[in-house]
Symmetry: C2
């Protein structure tokens, strides 16, 4: 049972992260100021250091929360009963929708890394959630016989064992070519969203929604869906 002190500490911690999240959404990670967060929660800046040893640790908290929120959105959008292509497209749409709704969070997760900041190991499980969802679609499709037959060969020098396991594991319909294409589709999803969000499609793509659907459908076909 938590003491009163522990309870108020937990409450204050989440109050700080909430304020930080609000400020992140407003001004972005680079302009996120620990002092402003402190002001918003009615603290003096030095008091915040009782809860987060540095601004980077506060950012780490936001990064993990962001990955988790995005991962949950992707998982919620996936209907395991649907056909592979529909599942793929649905998850891609969910990721894009989350990115458009949380542009600064997305930039924090998938944009330039914060300088002098290296992601601690804590972020890894949360960061992997979207990939796990997409890998599950691939594996389910293979086991359902929805993918063309392939050599099933394994080249461990290209894709790591852990990632190969996430990408449907060993199956005759999955070889290194499929694994590479799945990774390519995964990174292309984020490349597409990043280009849209960071303005590189301005003047090129007229209808973002339709372009995205067509591009993601092309990627699904590349994998074999």
């Amino acid at each position: 049972m938590p003491t009163a002190r522990e309870r108020v500490r937990a409450e204050l911690t989440s109050e700080i992260t909430d304020a930080a999240r609000r400020q992140l959404a407003e001004v972005g990670a680079a302009a996120l100021s620990l002092r402003a967060v402190a002001r918003e929660v009615g603290m003096v800046s030095s008091a915040v250091y009782r809860y987060f040893p540095s601004r980077d640790d506060l950012l780490t908290r936001l990064i993990i929360d962001g990955y988790d929120d995005l991962g949950a959105a992707a998982e919620a959008a996936d209907d395991p009963a649907a056909a592979p292509r529909g599942r793929w497209l649905s998850v891609c749409r969910a990721v894009r929708a989350w990115a458009l709704a949380h542009p600064h969070e997305y930039a924090l997760l998938y944009g330039s890394p914060v300088p002098g900041y290296t992601a601690p190991q804590d972020t890894v499980p949360a960061a992997a959630r979207v990939g796990v969802v997409l890998g599950g679609i691939l594996g389910d499709a293979a086991r359902a016989g929805a993918l063309p037959e392939r050599s099933g060969e394994r080249d461990a020098t290209l894709v790591s064992d852990a990632t190969a396991a996430v990408l449907g594991g060993e199956h005759p319909a999955i070889d290194e070519t499929v694994r590479v294409r799945a990774l390519l589709a995964w990174s292309s999803l984020y490349g597409t969203i990043s280009f849209e969000l960071f303005g590189h499609f301005v003047g090129s793509v007229e209808d973002g929604d339709r372009y995205f659907d067509r591009a993601m459908t092309d990627l699904a076909a590349l994998i074999g869906f």
Copy 2:
């Protein structure tokens, strides 16, 4: 003929940008400090404002230079006499090599936008150079009959006229499907490089060089090369 004052002004301006470029390469855009640049060139910080009205304007200069440098690298890597797939792969490799050699510049160009900063119109021509090279490969391939026949249809609600013109223009082998795939391949190139550079492939891709070549080859096949 430039006066002595104009000459020394131009010289000092390039001295400032050189120092800024060095600092960008070392500490990244977010940590680039106008005061440190001033120190490096032996000025007091306020004097730099005679040459750049703000830190963002200095960054804009670096962005344009970066796009130009990257664009020149892409153009130099393209051999118009080669086959489309080889040209595509060669340009992709050049972009990746430039990114790996200039990670902070790359992050400035294709990572999170600087907060409160909107790219001025000056950056557009420089930013377009890589896309023009890739579009040229597509157009040459179409005119050489190296692409499968298609409907040649045009759907201006999806891709802008200017971009369609860059992507080989009107040709029976180029329809909106090809244009979408070309844009997808373009953004996927950067998605792949960004994932590698920003650490999202850590633990997944074992051999970055081979993975990149195979992924880019898959993209070429998607376009029709």
